[in-house]
Symmetry: C2
Subunit: 368 residues, 2 copies
């Protein structure tokens, strides 16, 4: 059985598809009402995020687009310090999509939602011409703890919070999702699996530990390099990481070497970084190590000098870095090209120093 | 300038697209933070809905996909009795999509959001291969009034609330959106415009009037026939409407006659029906007539006998209709085929009686 344009008409064929697959596997008291909107308990402060998933292939080692669509949005909520609560899902189906595959994907969504403790409260299905593709938008709402907003209505956890001396903790091996997708597409035989997983167990443990997280983000498309650059820009600081401390599995290392890929730019779907005060680092590592998705967590680097300090510098921006990060002093030519911008520096295993710019351009298309 | 796969990479090209178009036109204090989730004030009870838009052509008389994406989701929130507050938007762009067109669409979204009083708090962009198509998911959160839930946690406004004798009020002419899209596609010259509009002004007035709305729904793809069938099924009741009272503009009437279309199944994007007690009908009509989007509101029919009565019939369902709706008595052959299911009946202008089944199959593909 394949999807036809009729399944997107809003009439009987749509109703049958909803009843036969979506309601069957995702059903709950709220979704079952089938009203225009779900009416649900709220909270004083909520978090809201949206993500569309266009990954190809639809099924890959370690997961599928359904698991990805739930985990991706759940993780975005977690990274703001929210407890994920509700998801909506919008399917855009291309004509010819296999109904059996849709059912398998929906089942994955149901399982991932159960693990993450969220319910799917609303859905939508549209059909377009094409070659059987399946695209999923998930949008999530989470409840924020009472102390989620600081003075000036700023979220307590935010990218602009990094301060000189803070440490950066990564929850585990990087590059697995990227390598798994690419292996699937290129038909390369290996046992690499996507790391696709919900991170709410880790963030719940962090919350309960009482540790103060300054910034936190899941490491997805664009890779570790992109998140670190976002933090450096938002906090107007330098970041130095040590290559030797960055966890990459043997298989992914070999895979990326052969294909000329840099694990720092490879996508992940179950990894996060947290920036915390140095004194809190061991507590954070403990929380991560207790989760099946954070067993290989490690400190990978630190926020460096040049950090913007709102107390002493008013509204200072790029121009206010007081001291250039130390690597510049070694090489004046490099210093000129980077123009003292907030910069991510890698101390390489062989003792060199490399600037890690933001990803420009392709990455791997349709990785999530 | 066209969209390339690089715009979906999550790297620099994505960032540039976001800064250059999305943040520029949709920017607000919350969206500008660019965190994984928006952290926003909530409410004790919220409404949540999702909708994807795949309309073609992207621009049509009376609107475009951007206006549609905001109005559609805002209207779904309104129909639950919520005050629309936050939207997220997820763009799926096909390679080759024109950046100038995306900007025009985003501008439309900004304007529609302003009119509807909502802000866009989170966004996402993905790129797929294709022929320049643009697809938009919008997901909305609204705040519910304190009395939004009744005993048993049931929403106060719901499709299953219709009772024998209630009247059905339609907010204006039907078929305009459908006819406008089809005219565009077939290059037919006329002045029909889509009715695409936010209905929050009407629902706000209804709320302030204190009138008790039993069921309320916007009339979109699938048309009036589909919504009425949903109400009949949910409430296990009969519905009778009078063709002579159903407002269809002269141009749409002529257009649909030539093409053999039935306005009852034609899509709308700025129309709603409300089911209320007979004594409240004039108050509801007053609220609608005061809005630019409800000037032609009218009573189109009523809920009929056979209505399920939870007080007297326990958990009765399809089989418990006490009296068959009167039309059956006239024609035993019809009665046998419909098996006493909740049914929508049309009294035709020429004095006949017609069953109006749910839409099965195509409708018009990609109408919204």
């Amino acid at each position: 059985m394949k999807i036809t344009m009729a399944h997107g008409s809003g009439g009987r064929a749509t109703t049958d598809l909803i009843a036969g697959i979506f309601a069957k596997h995702l059903g709950n008291q709220i979704l079952d009402k089938m009203e225009d909107s779900a009416v649900i308990p709220g909270a004083a402060t909520i978090a809201m995020t949206t993500d569309s998933f266009v990954v190809t292939p639809l099924f890959f080692p370690g997961g599928d687009i359904g698991k990805l669509a739930v985990c991706g949005t759940v993780n975005d909520l977690c990274m703001s310090g929210a407890i994920p609560k509700y998801l909506t899902c919008g399917f855009i189906l291309e004509e010819g999509a296999l109904i059996a595959e849709i059912e398998q994907i929906v089942l994955s969504m149901a399982n991932a939602a159960r693990e993450a403790g969220v319910i799917i409260v609303a859905g939508d299905t549209k059909v377009i011409e094409g070659k059987g593709g399946i695209y999923i938008n998930t949008t999530g709402v989470g409840f924020m703890p009472a102390n989620a907003l600081e003075y000036n209505n700023e979220p307590a956890i935010r990218a602009s919070n990094c301060k000189d001396g803070d440490v950066i903790i990564l929850s585990g091996y990087i590059g697995d999702h990227h390598a798994a997708i690419l292996s699937s597409r290129m038909n390369i035989k290996n046992t690499i699996k996507s790391d696709c997983a919900p991170l709410c167990g880790i963030t719940k443990a962090l919350k309960e530990s009482g540790v103060k997280i300054k910034a936190m983000r899941d490491v997805t498309r664009g890779g570790l390099a992109t998140v670190l650059n976002e933090f450096a820009t938002a906090s107007q600081c330098g970041i130095t990481i040590d290559e030797i401390n960055i966890p990459v599995s043997g298989q992914v290392r070999a895979f990326s070497k052969i294909l000329g890929l840099d694990p720092l730019y490879m996508a992940n779907e179950g990894k996060m970084i947290a920036v915390v005060d140095r004194k809190d680092a061991q507590k954070v590592l403990g929380c991560m190590h207790d989760s099946p998705y954070g067993r290989n967590a490690t400190i990978i680097g630190a926020i460096t000098q040049g950090c913007k300090d709102p107390e002493s510098q008013g509204d200072g921006g790029v121009g206010t870095l007081t001291t250039p990060p130390s690597p510049w002093n070694k090489d004046d030519a490099v210093a000129k090209t980077v123009d003292w911008k907030p910069t991510v520096i890698l101390n390489t295993t062989i003792g060199g120093v490399r600037i890690i710019p933001e990803l420009y351009g392709e990455g791997l298309p349709r990785i999530c």
